[in-house]
């Protein structure tokens, strides 16, 4: 139905696409460590050696873990398997709250202790009016 040239051009496009997808896939796969925005406490625990570089740790702020002493803020990031203690001095975003997502940027002291230089609140995918949240909470 279609001419030989049309078929060849189709094949040409398909080959370019396959090559590109494979290349991009391999590149992203090998760069995985750098593509992720933060690491979880479990991933930190599993590190073979501690990096001196600035890293980001993310997870949930553990319930009842926030301690404010003078200008220093202390809390615990958890992924419900492992935990890491964070200390921080500075401004915190409005959405920073116990039981909510957080990403802390800073330096590892050891596998259990993290000194943050910046705190970002991570919002989750749930959107609802306050009344609905309340109703859900009462259940």
């Amino acid at each position: 139905m279609y001419g030989r040239k049309v078929k060849l051009r189709f094949l040409f496009v398909v080959l370019i696409l396959i090559t590109l997808i494979l290349t991009v896939f391999l590149v992203l796969k090998s760069l995985e460590e750098n593509v992720v925005y933060f690491q979880s406490p479990s991933e930190i625990k599993a590190l073979s050696e501690l990096d001196k570089k600035k890293i980001r740790v993310g997870g949930m702020v553990k319930k009842d873990s926030i301690l404010v002493k003078a200008s220093e803020l202390k809390f615990v990031i958890t992924d419900f398997k492992n935990e890491i203690n964070v200390s921080y001095t500075g401004a915190i975003p409005n959405l920073f709250e116990e039981g909510k997502g957080v990403v802390a940027e800073g330096f590892l002291k050891d596998r259990n202790f993290f000194s943050a230089t910046k705190i970002l609140a991570k919002h989750d995918e749930n959107y609802m009016p306050p009344e609905v949240k309340q109703a859900l909470g009462e259940k």
Binding site: L17, I21, F38, I92, P93, N94, K122, Y127
Partner: protein, 235 residues
């Protein structure tokens, strides 16, 4: 099939349709904005900042949709040697680019009060920036190259390179840890956005789609006039 599309008939549609589309756009946008800014509830966590989402999400959807469309059109135009496909793609691109920029800017405005930062080099945000760069390359190449042969090939190549990025944008939030939250709307499973917020979101999406259609018709009409002025009776 393509020969049935008589340019004169298309021209009749593209020169008259915009005023009706404009009217429809204004109506839908007014309803959408009233819903999004006044009637819809505030979020339990972000309070009024959630309203930015009614512009941000539709803009991002439309820019992804348009890029996919111009890729499909360019590849089809390249395979079947059909000039019309390229002209449709060319006319679609500007509104896709504008919505891409709107998505990035509104994302930054939302990010500052909620995350605490304007910009993060996470996978979702970076891949969206890359899409904007592909749009820019696509639009610029239409201006640089005079010869049709060349511009058709180069724009097709740019869209093929850029389309690989589109699934990365979509799945970046699932594949990697990102600061950006995962999708709230799932076709196959239950959505994690309340119906009172989903409704204005869908109306705003319809409004933006109508705006893209409007700009497309006006741009495409100009392309048809250019062809007419050349005295050619076919596409």
């Amino acid at each position: 099939m393509f020969k049935l599309l008589n340019p004169n008939k298309i021209f009749q549609v593209t020169s008259k349709a915009p005023k009706y589309i404009l009217f429809l756009f204004v109506v839908v946008l007014s309803v959408g904005l009233t819903e999004a800014l006044i009637l819809s509830p505030e979020d339990y966590k972000q309070s009024d900042a959630v309203r930015i989402m009614y512009v941000h999400v539709p803009a991002a959807w439309i820019s992804l949709g348009i890029f996919s469309s111009i890729t499909f059109l360019s590849i089809s135009g390249f395979i079947f040697k059909n000039k019309n496909f390229f002209l449709i793609a060319k006319s679609l691109a500007p509104s896709g680019f504008v919505f891409n920029i709107i998505a990035l800017v509104t994302g930054a405005i939302w990010g500052k009060p909620t995350w605490g930062t304007w910009w993060a080099w996470d996978a979702r945000i970076t891949s969206m920036l890359i899409l904007a760069l592909f749009y820019a390359m696509y639009l610029i190449s239409w201006r640089i190259y005079e010869s049709e042969e060349k511009v058709f090939k180069i724009t097709t190549f740019i869209t093929i390179l850029g389309i690989v990025n589109v699934p990365i944008i979509k799945y970046s939030v699932d594949w990697w840890n990102t600061l950006h939250q995962p999708a709230s709307i799932n076709i196959l499973s239950k959505s994690s956005i309340h119906i009172s917020m989903l409704f204005p979101l869908l109306i705003m999406t319809a409004a933006f789609a109508l705006f893209s259609l409007l700009i497309f018709l006006m741009k495409y009409n100009t392309e048809l006039i250019k062809i007419k002025n050349k005295g050619l009776d076919r596409l």
